[in-house]
Amino acid sequence: MTRLFLPRDALAVAVGADELAGAIARACPDVPLVRTGSRGMAWLEPLLEVETPEGRIGYGPVQAADLPGLLAAGLLRGGAHERRIGRPEAHPFLARQTRITFQRCGLTDPLSLDDYRAHSGLAGLRRAIGMGAETVLAEVAASGLRGRGGAGFPTGIKWRTVAGAQAPRKYIVCNADEGDSGTFADRMVMEGDPFLLIEGMAIAGIAVGATQGYVYLRSEYPGAIEILSDAIRVARREGMLGRAILGSAHAFDMEVRVGAGAYVCGEETSLLDSLEGKRGQVRAKPPLPAIEGLFGMPTVVNNVLTLAAIPDILAAGGAAYAAHGFGKSRGTMPVQLAGNIQHGGLFEVPFGITLGELVHEIGGGTASGRPVRAVQVGGPLGAYFPPALFDTPFDYESFAARDGLIGHGGIVVFDDTVDMAKMARFAMAFCAIESCGKCTPCRLGSTRGVEVIDRMVAGVPGQKQLLEDLCETMKFGSLCALGGFTPYPVLSALRYFPEDFTPGVRREAA
């Protein structure tokens, strides 16, 4: 029996996938509909796929109202239609990618462990159980994997520190508080391939000797909360989690904990305080969480994408993963193309591709059709780059060398109608809203920053120096990256788009 496939990914749902699923159930109740993750081609969502002898054939974007026409055109046989895109794998956007973390996303039923196994899932966990902690640590170190949350710290070193710490209890904490605008890769993993994250956390548990894991998941992702929680129940029922994972001597279990709308809880020490039931305020480091983390115990805190890269590293070996990449940035990065972009979505690629290739060749330029004026890379704390810097290779060091950062891999594109003084002001205002209040440069500096930019745009003299000094203080005086990195968008906007800060020269908002 021919099956249909349709994402239950939040983006697909937000543009009509559930209504389409309802229409399919009414129009062809005998056709099984599998709800999958998303392939990551956002402009084609909802992307409906049908099983045919030539493989799966995609149609997108499809609204419920389009269904009668599609059925008449022979949807169930893969018939011709203006929305037919052919085999999704052959689509240039997917064909150009190197999908490791996202190899299953969009293909499988996220809650079917059989599907997961059939698509090479659990191979890494089995191998980890067979080789033991020391060899797992060596494989992760050999992979060159660095923290995908933004800081880029070598995962192997972090794990070895926790493994070496003596304590009655250790924890694996997954940072799923993906709050950066322009990022959604964590959400796509949790909604589209949740067993991958569970497997990565279980392997981390074996490597460092932890038996309990927590996923700190933001409340803005109700779909991910539901799917990941369901997947954990399935994993427990089928022995992937519990007292003897996959029948081994290793115990590991995990829980989802839901955040409550605080951006700063994406900072690892705030996140730990929040998990402990406190206000999510930043802790001074040292001690590192690897030594004194959750409830004072040694704790691995890793981003979703870091943990999701682990199963394949264990299955194929660290060296195979390290064979991809550029300089000190090894492996692949799930880049997220967002904002004013024609072909937005998830593009997993080895490090080293240039920013310009991502924005123009892959993303197709702006959705508005106007010229690109600026891109913000790495979320609200990342720098704004003009097209003149589009030759920058996408890796940690190249961006740092140009006073930028890749952060969690999000790229937000703006066309030539953007007011960069307004964006700089927003960076300060956002910092003021989300500051945890613990350190003065962030708590007060952000509010003063908004005021200085307002005065600058109004033509009060001497404000540029004041803004630069303030940014210097925030950069070096703040406890964490919220206050410390807010100067990146502000100073880059000022440096590359000074005309927007100059009254008389700046184009006033339309």
Binding site: G182, E220, A262, P380, E434
Partner: protein, 154 residues
Amino acid sequence: MSEPEIAARVRDIIEPLTVLEGPAMPMLHAVQAEFRCVPEAAVPVLAETLNRSRAEIRGLISFYHDFRDTPPGRTVLKLCRAEACQSRGGEALAAEAQAALGVGWGETTPDGAITLEPVYCLGLCAAAPCGMVNDRPVARLDRARLAALTEARS
């Protein structure tokens, strides 16, 4: 519900959660799921159960944007104000929503139908501008889709 009734109900809700490590946040979420806010009468119960001061519990409620001390309108409409949505005209759309509803951020229409709130990123940034109607995500918002959302009052 009277205050003692609320307190008794809160006790029932949070009692099963006392076995958790760090139960405060799950408890606050559970209480809010029941009452659509964390009522004042819940504070002393939470404080007693968690062996924390009432000030600390109030501190949690005020720190996290999600927790409320009064219930919102029947529908909560959240519009994203973060960069990706701004790049696609999110701010202009938000201004239209405010004008259509006659409310500012964080306010509720006089008939109690809709509360309008800002949100900073819903992870739908490749289909901006976006928002959320209660727990249902909505994306590729434009004037017509927004009008349908603001007019559909339950």
